[in-house]
Amino acid sequence: MNQMSYVKRSILTAVCIALCVVLPMAFHAIPNAGSIYCPMHIPVLLCGLIAGWPFGLLCGLAGPLLSSLLTGMPATAYLPIMMMELALYGLLTGLFMQLIHTRKIYVDLYISLVISLLAGRVLAGIARALIFAPGSYSISAWATGYFITCLPGLVIQLALVPTIVFALEKARLIPVRYPVEEG
């Protein structure tokens, strides 16, 4: 996936940022979809995996900001926390995807995703406890907010993100990570 041109990576990032605004609107019919399904996480994770860590980082910062400005979701009070959390996901998925090469795309994707989702949640929890809500943020609140409430979202992310990457490779919209050698 590292054969993509700089322009294509930039445009893919732009599309992922736009999807950060559009997907939560599409999920709007489902009550509490934002906190349960975390629809904004999917484009950020994909952007990190496909375009690389600088673009994933940008997508994680700009996606929630643009969505908040245009649709009011997430609310201004949650915006800095969400920007930081999503920026971490974008950065970490990109970094791990660059570092891990097992010759099997699903293994690469799942290792990068799982480590990024866990590390992102831990770092976001630490930042919340130290910066955004010092003294009033507990481990139980962290576990509830980052694992229990959004459990369906986590499952959907783990099931959908590799499927989408594979579908994009099959449709030749992104380069194949491990091309099959002929002969």
Binding site: A14, I42, L70, I156, L160, L168, A171
Partner: protein, 263 residues
Amino acid sequence: MNTMPSGQYITGTSMLHRLDARGKLICMFVLLTAVILTSTLWGYIFIIAVTAALMLFSALPAAALFTPLRRLWLFFTVIFLMNALFFDGNAPLCSWWIFHITAAGLSQGAQVVLRVLLVVLLSNILTCTTRPMELTGALESLLKPLKLFRIPVEDIAMILSVAIQFIPTLSEEADMIKKAQTARGARFESRRLTDKAASVAPLVVPIFLSAFRRADELSMAMEARGYRNAGSRTKKDRHALHLPDYLALTASMMICAASVFIF
């Protein structure tokens, strides 16, 4: 989904529409600082009066400005109640079980709600009176100092402007895909969590495939026309700030200083 989100640019010729986007962006940051730093009743009254004056100068329809506030009513209610019922303070006005209503809690809740309300209104005034392209151009000029740290500011501005242009197209497409999947039996409105979860994949995968196909076409078209990166490009229009922009900047700084130091 059928209507564009609030905060979309509304064509107009008002004083605020005519100001330079860079000036407006700086003014908004200064006013947001005033909103955050104010803590007295008179300070809030002063900023509310300033916001009301800006709404009048913008000549925008009230519905465009107040729609996002209507959507946030649940958030406002929860924030107010959390502060009002759980705030630690002496001499509660009323107590029941774990809830203690105190004057300090009520005041804290009202302050938080008022701050968010003012921030939403001010950012809405900015986005309704400034074209998205002008806004990204302004962001690019204001972020120029970051070039010292080798951050590709022009590329970031280009990505943001492309993202903004993609939103209406992708929104329409997502709506179409949603209708198509509903016709095929997807149960988005079902109360059962399993039905809802099962309906997510047929909605999300086609949206991504279609969006990435558009991205592929656009990047190919750009590369075919010789586009490499934004850093080496020049601009057709370079506008300088004019007297009204400097006046607006001075006024916003005076408002910020007054709300913090006088009231």
